[in-house]
């Protein structure tokens, strides 16, 4: 392990071999999961499986603020902060507790919320919905209740965006943002919710990529005046300071990785958020090593940051997660691809949806499975009628994936399946009893018709084909 990996909070946008290896090799301080991984059950459960099987302990976060930004599909939809701010503080606590509980069940231990920024008239809808309102004391009160809710649920909350993004009218994802408010206006307004959060013991604060012209010419993320003088000295904050994503243009287009690291750590910051961890971590780690060799960052400072980050991990990391779902899928399926031949095209044969009983949701599964076959394998779809299967004309050069259900009950159906070309994989969905008919062929047994199990088969087919 390199010494300062804990200083990085890396964004995970997809799972691939490069990422799997990086997770094995590194001990990052934090990982934030983005929608592409969170909203694909197979990937989400595989991610937690990788973390656990490598014995990795770190902060694991999402951007799930509720309302306008909801990335975890297992948390009930919420109107969001702006509506919440029109109601009662107790609902703020309840929402944080509810969402925190579900985050924890999934495997998360951190959340980049609550938003402490103030609403300003004429903020765009995109920003406005995320705020709890425009009155400093009220925003402080509601967000404080949210902090209690997350804490009760065992989730580390990260307040944002210090010292307050609310007076900005441009988007720091896209461009420079400058706020011209006076120090007095910032103090009596934007700072207020942060001060209360700090008094209440908040342990993680995210900085804004915003220039506060009355304080400094540098964005808050890189400003010693903001981080060291105000946040640490004046507000006596002793917790971890995290940047907003470094890739955002307000920072990345104006400063090099070395400039960012040098300024941020020397300003008193602790942790760098890279929204594209796989791509940017090696670049930033190299830059950090150069800075250390050049003696431009104090090693004691970094060691101190590592200690603080480790404490958070020790306090919040827990072992509950959905990783076992991935294990259940992978350990339950049985595959024989001995005679699969390479093919450019894949065809999925699947029963026509038809409700067989009240308890039957197979039909819904069929529709989802078709979508998965298109997405994962680019497959063409042929539906067959389980009651009267008719011979289909299939191109000779394709690999056929044949989803079979209850074949043993119907001789015609069995004949139909057996008549398919040699380069067919039979997906025996539930009855190993069906297996005996296909033992000399390529097959996969899933013991399930749920999309998550069928995804596993499609992924194996894809891997197999790409191996030729």
């Amino acid at each position: 392990m390199r010494k300062y990996e804990r200083l990085f909070f890396c964004g995970i946008n997809d799972l691939n071999d490069e990422l799997r290896e990086m997770i094995r090799e590194n001990d990052w301080g934090g990982l934030i999961l983005y929608p592409n991984v969170i909203q694909d059950t197979y990937k989400l459960t595989e991610f937690f499986n990788i973390i656990e099987s490598n014995g990795k302990k770190c902060l694991i976060s999402s951007d799930h603020e509720g309302g306008q930004i909801e990335t975890i599909p297992f948390i009930p939809p919420f109107p969001g902060n702006m509506a919440l701010g029109k109601t009662r503080p107790e609902y703020a606590r309840k929402y944080a507790y509810l969402s925190g509980n579900i985050m924890k069940s999934i495997g998360f231990n951190t959340v980049f919320a609550p938003v402490l920024d103030l609403y300003t008239p004429k903020n765009s809808a995109v920003v406005g919905f995320r705020t709890l309102g425009g009155e400093p004391v009220k925003v402080a009160k509601y967000s404080n209740e949210m902090l209690k809710g997350y804490k009760d649920a065992g989730i580390l909350a990260c307040v944002k965006h210090f010292p307050g993004h609310g007076k900005a009218f441009t988007d720091s994802h896209e461009m420079d943002v400058i706020i011209d408010a006076s120090p007095e206006a910032l103090k009596s307004e934007d700072f207020v919710p942060f001060k209360l959060a700090i008094e209440s013991g908040v342990e993680l604060i995210m900085t804004a990529h915003v220039i506060y012209s009355s304080i400094d010419t540098l964005p808050a993320t890189l400003s010693k005046k903001v981080i060291n003088d105000i946040l640490k000295n004046e507000f006596e904050y002793d917790g971890v300071v995290l940047t907003d994503a470094i890739e955002m243009k307000a920072i990345s287009e104006k400063f090099s990785p070395k400039e960012i690291l040098e300024k941020f750590f020397n300003a008193g910051g602790d942790m760098i958020l890279l929204s594209n961890g796989v791509k940017n971590f090696p670049i930033f780690y190299k830059a950090l090593e150069e800075l250390l060799n050049e003696g431009r960052i104090d090693e004691n400072k970094l060691e101190n940051s590592v200690v603080k980050i480790k404490k958070l991990i020790d306090r919040y990391y827990h072992k509950q997660s959905v990783g076992f779902i991935n294990s259940t899928v992978e350990e339950s399926i049985e595959v024989n691809f001995d005679n699969v031949k390479p093919a450019l095209n894949v065809i999925l044969l699947i029963p026509q949806p038809q409700k067989m009983s009240q308890a039957d949701i197979l039909s819904d599964h069929y529709i989802k499975i078709e979508k998965l076959a298109r997405k994962i394998l680019g497959a063409k779809i042929f539906r067959y009628d389980m009651k009267k299967p008719k011979k289909v004309d299939l191109p000779g050069d394709a690999l056929i994936i044949d989803i079979i259900v209850d074949t043993f009950k119907n001789e015609n159906l069995l004949k139909f399946h057996k008549s398919l070309p040699q380069n067919t994989i039979y997906v025996i969905s539930h009855d190993p009893y069906d297996k005996k008919f296909f033992e000399d062929r390529n097959y996969a047994i899933t013991y399930s018709m749920t999309p998550v199990s069928i995804t596993a088969i499609f992924k194996r087919v894809k891997e197999f084909l790409s191996g030729f």
Copy 2:
């Protein structure tokens, strides 16, 4: 409160005034939510709000078994029991704990799971997927782990379907089911998982509407030999005995409500499951009163059942739920419908989807809102371009719902909105600043563009129109 309402477990298929009143008036022992309510966030949160605001304590359940039957959308998808049975018992416990935790967060305190039925070769896929396998000791072991997981999560588990449905080849939803197995075969196979569950302290058991011809000519649900002699005397089970849904044809087509109640309670059963509570509870309660008047059921027996059911409620009822989400929605919106005129047709005007920033999911909301407008109000949809709004030709007799976002930023946009016919409701999504332009018109302020908040507006419009 009538004396024996606790003896009924009622199914909730939808929310309407009739149900709201029945919930207020009755103290049912249990309520089971079906997908139409669970999978509609507005209805789900409203349901829990009704329960809480009426101070009702009762068992609240779902059929969420995992895999083939998953009714709660907030629990991660699972391959299901049959696949699970091919892996490790620890995953069974983990799945029950994960799903139990999320159930509890939502507001449930009971689940009709795990399934203890044995897989039999040639079981149809629909039944087969729901079983943990065919080996009695293994099914007992895995289901026992599930019971531990639910218990750890604070969820009351209901094992089913006593004394074992696995040897059935027909569907009791649709017809008579008879199992001809010998007493020895049942004892050494189907009974095994139930015996272990009882030894482990299971507190709720659901009966099968299956005739076990070697035991009795009556279905297990109505059989004194099954419930009293085997389950209570032989297995020494002292918990609550619940029927499977009485509406299933295997029971409802052969026995009258009075026959069902008389036989079930006299056989030693405690609780009747009505999948259509609103329709069937009055019928069954009337039948129960007649039986009591005629002295055909022992009152002491019923009182004893009520005591047992109350104990379960005291042990498992909890106050955490998503009910506050409904309160947040309802308390945050502001409506002025003073000049809304009756109309047969509703038209929704909504911005064309377009991504404005990385953090923007408004576009996704627009698409969902269109669907809601069609579903709730039967509305026709007109999309407008926020950058270049063009005059649309609207039928003069319609009510127009105009979704407006950031109007104050664009004079043309404002003119476009203001030029609409008088019978328009302006839905001001986020900025009360926009309100001043529409104060003399009909409007609704949501402070949110999430589907759950917009649903609330559409529901109010619908109510308002139906009031004319």
